[in-house]
């Protein structure tokens, strides 16, 4: 499966939500990182076929998405950013309804629902009304519906929002196993989710793709740009106004500050091992449009 996004642009009135976005995806998990309002959800909705791009095209294995309908939709699993449920539906009703929407029939549907409910830890609650579910349970039900048709392309918009750490780890493991021969696009604010399972990350800002690299590449590129230095709280208050700080840890009566910068910030600064979070911070503090 090869998914090509070619010069996708989207305008809402005078607002340019996406501006000539292009990248390619093959099997594996791809992270989509970007600040709020960067255009991630718009891009995801275009890929899911629920929003029309103003220009550009989505190409699947060399064919335009529109020419591949309805096969494309049968291969697609989608979890939108926000999802509520019908007040009168139980979890089971909801999954059966989505299965019917996806054109799934027969006993295999029940088996699939049972298996997914177990994987997202909802077996005990499947007969309860969805409206009584907690935020995390609703999210897990949303993940289960996206996986009902064993999609070849799985598009997840903020899938781990509202999940507790244990649920997030379970979700990451589920997606890792699932993605072996499939394409997964994961849009999130939580960098550690992308760091754990994505093979490549697309960084998007102001409707444009900044970079698309393997996660290791992002991290490697940060070598010599992450520093640790100690200072007092009063010094930190002044320092944080003109430096990019990715973390602060109390260390005795001083603070250990993790600084992301191109040059050694102070003679006593010690180089630190960079992470994807540092790279994210660096990329989004650095305006590539000016390059």
């Amino acid at each position: 499966m090869k998914l090509t996004i070619k010069n996708i642009s989207k305008k809402y009135g005078k607002i340019q939500a996406l501006d000539s976005v292009s990248f390619e995806m093959e099997n594996g998990v791809y992270g989509l990182l970007g600040p709020n309002g960067a255009g991630k959800s718009t891009l995801i909705r275009i890929l899911a076929g629920v929003t029309e791009a103003s220009s550009g095209e989505v190409i699947i294995n060399g064919k335009n998405r529109k020419a591949c309908d309805p096969e494309y939709r049968s291969k697609l699993g989608y979890l939108p950013q926000t999802l509520n449920f019908y007040p009168c539906f139980s979890g089971l009703d909801y999954l059966r309804f989505v299965a019917a929407l996806k054109g799934l029939k027969g006993e295999s549907v029940e088996r699939k629902i049972e298996s997914l409910a177990e994987q997202v830890s909802l077996t005990q609650d499947l007969h309860r009304k969805c409206i009584s579910y907690s935020g995390g349970m609703k999210r897990r039900l949303g993940i289960a519906q996206a996986l009902l048709n064993d999609p070849e392309i799985l598009i997840l918009d903020e899938p781990t929002a509202g999940l507790d750490p244990h649920e997030r780890i379970k979700f990451r493991n589920l997606i890792s196993v699932f993605s072996r021969d499939r394409t997964v696009l994961l849009s999130t604010h939580i960098v550690s989710d992308v760091d754990s399972i994505a093979k490549q990350t697309v960084m998007i800002k102001d409707g444009r793709v900044g970079k698309m690299e393997r996660n290791e590449h992002f991290v490697d590129a940060m070598e010599g740009r992450v520093w640790l230095l100690k200072m007092t709280v009063d010094e930190l208050v002044v320092y944080q106004n003109n430096h990019l700080i990715s973390n602060v840890i109390p260390a005795g009566n001083r603070m250990e500050v993790r600084v992301v910068t191109d040059k050694r910030p102070a003679p006593d600064a010690v180089a630190a091992m960079p992470t994807l979070e540092d790279a994210y911070l660096y990329e989004f503090n650095f305006d590539w449009r000016t390059v």
């Binding site: 909705r45 629920v50 929003t51 939108p80 539906f89 929407l101 996806k102």
Partner: protein, 401 residues
């Protein structure tokens, strides 16, 4: 089929909607009871057995002697008791069964007179009464090949075959006919329907399910089919609940359904109907008629729901539509003529059963005289089909913003 079942669950077969349906049934039953209030007063009256005797003795064809007697008594009663208050006079008659009989027989006598001689004020475009029609046919004797001649010839044959009106006890059906009153159908049935149908598409926007539906294989066409079928089914169920409530409410105070087999013209508002059936048949046809009418209205509400994003706005527009179309009925004839088909064939106009099937109104369709009922049925299907088509097209192009 599975999608249809789930759409029915969303729209009607869930706890809150079933409670609402039960409330609607109770309201309709109370309305039915109120319509039959006079019957209860009549049955409780000491002279009720005398009323039954008089009705039984005079059941059947016209008796001129009885008419003369009843007319004299009735006119004297009216002079004494009818002092501008229709409701008061109505209740007076029901508390005085013998007077009611004479009043009923006098009205019956006038109907017989009109059957032969036509109403006091004739519509020259559509003449009524055996003798005036025969006169008209004489006038047209030189134009036997014209549509007008053929129309009046057919009308005369129909009138003669239906025969002179007969006197029957149709107390239950007189009360039940109020269920077809425009105020009840328009303001109860259609408004309840507007409320129930309004979330059919808007709930997908409000629950953010739009995205999941639109990206699924069956989210563009099959889901619309399921929704449209659920709208039609809901309309039919609500119509059945409405009339069952009215019927049961009426039956509780009447205690019988006498007059079921009386000719159709004994049904209130159907004095000039050309339907050759019984009163019971006319009532059943009325319920059956309102099923496609409510379906067409339900589909129109579905269309508003598909175009709107908010349930309250959808319901509001539905209510505004009912009120506006109801007002058309109160317009002067010249204004109605200006509105053309919009005045006679809107959702509210075609829901008034008595005006569609109770008279002899005809329309010129490609040179042929076609009855109001037949044209209304065709319009009803056309309105439904157009609404369904637009909904399909809207869903095909629907996008999430």
């Amino acid at each position: 089929m599975i999608l249809f079942q789930y759409e029915m669950k969303k729209l009607l077969f869930n706890k809150s909607r079933i409670i609402l349906l039960a409330v609607i049934f109770i309201i309709c039953m109370l309305m039915g009871l109120l319509s039959a209030e006079g019957s209860l007063a009549l049955r409780k009256s000491a002279d009720y057995s005398e009323y039954i005797r008089l009705v039984s003795e005079n059941t059947g064809g016209f008796n001129p002697e009885q008419f003369a007697k009843s007319k004299a008594i009735s006119e004297a009663t009216e002079v004494e008791y009818r002092k501008g208050n229709e409701d008061g006079f109505y209740m007076y008659l029901h508390r005085n069964p013998v007077q009611k009989f004479h009043n009923d027989y006098t009205k019956f006598g006038k109907r017989v007179h009109e059957y032969w001689n036509g109403p006091e004020y004739q519509d020259e475009a559509n003449i009524l009464g055996i003798y005036p029609i025969q006169e008209k046919l004489k006038e047209l004797s030189g134009k036997t090949g014209t549509n007008e001649y053929r129309y009046y010839k057919k009308r005369l044959d129909t009138e003669l075959s239906l025969g002179e009106p007969v006197f029957r006890n149709t107390l239950f059906w007189d009360n039940f006919s109020l269920a077809f009153d425009p105020s009840r159908v328009g303001f109860l049935l259609l408004m309840f329907l507007a409320f129930i149908i309004s979330p059919v598409f808007t709930q997908e926007v409000q629950t953010d399910m739009d995205s999941i539906i639109l990206c699924s294989v069956k989210g563009r066409r099959e889901i619309v089919t399921a929704k449209l079928l659920s709208v039609c089914m809901t309309s039919a169920i609500l119509t059945a609940v409405f009339f069952s409530g009215m019927f049961i409410g009426n039956y509780i105070f009447n205690g019988d359904i006498n007059g079921f087999d009386a000719p159709a013209r004994c049904f209130a508002g159907f004095t000039w109907t050309t339907l050759d059936m019984t009163v019971g048949g006319v009532a059943m046809l009325g319920v059956l008629w309102l099923i496609p009418v409510t379906m067409a209205f339900g589909l129109a509400m579905g269309l508003i729901s598909a175009k709107s994003k908010n349930q309250t706005a959808t319901f509001g527009l539905g209510v505004a539509m009912i009120l506006t179309l109801s007002l058309f009925g109160f317009l002067r004839d010249d204004l109605k003529k200006m509105l053309g088909p919009l005045a006679d064939f809107n959702y509210v106009a075609i829901s008034i059963y008595g005006s569609v099937f109770g008279g002899v109104k005809v329309y010129n369709v490609f040179g042929k005289a076609v009855s109001y009922g037949a044209v209304a049925l065709a319009v009803c299907f056309a309105l439904g089909a157009v609404a369904a088509l637009i909904i399909y097209m809207a869903q095909k192009r629907r996008m999430v913003v």
